[in-house]
Subunit: 122 residues, 2 copies
């Protein structure tokens, strides 16, 4: 179980982070995600962090990297399911998830991605 | 992180199992799932096991229990993402997932649930 599964739903990819992230796992996730975006022509990536009680600068940086990487490959990233306590801590620590969009839950995240996708369509 | 997150998508619930299950975690998941089915009026539960390299009798029993529990609450359960090696081992061990439906991946699982739901409609 040394890899985080990536689920495909239409042209969206969904990743649920449940375990403590460490360097190798974060790198593997970035590799797997970029490979899957390319292979499936995904337009969006949803990262669910509802299981995380703590988001530190390491996780924050990983999410920013995934988001930047996705953007280059034309896939938007939305972080969903953030716990209230995590949001409070992020603000208190001054950790801004630069360029990362967030939504309350998976459903709203999917809506957000669909809207932005439609808005971009000619 | 002592609970497995349950994601809602429309009238479906999605659970991705990524960590080693133990008694407490399995019980917590069953409790959480039944509570969520009731609260959200979900019609289906998708259990993704693509991250599992091994499905032993404990996991098998947990999945059967969740499926039976869901059925009583009028929510169908579909197990998705089973690795080929896991399928082979299940057959070799004679572990049948009684009354549990399976699908290759999340998308097909969602299709299956939608079809069965429509078929039941008057």
């Amino acid at each position: 179980m040394e890899r985080i599964p990536i689920l495909q739903m239409g042209d969206l990819l969904l990743v649920t982070i449940q375990v403590d992230m460490h360097d190798q796992l974060a790198l593997a996730l970035q590799d797997d995600l970029s490979e899957r975006i390319q292979r499936t022509s995904a337009r969006g990536v949803l990262i669910d962090i509802s299981a995380l009680d703590i988001v530190d600068s390491f996780i924050g940086r990983m999410i920013s990297t995934i988001s930047s990487m996705g953007r280059i490959m034309d896939a938007a990233t939305v972080v969903v399911g953030m716990q209230p306590a995590v949001a409070i801590t992020l603000v208190e620590l001054g950790l801004t998830l630069d360029g990362v969009r967030t939504a309350l839950n998976v459903e709203r995240g999917m809506q957000l991605l669909r809207q932005s996708h439609n808005a971009e369509a000619p």
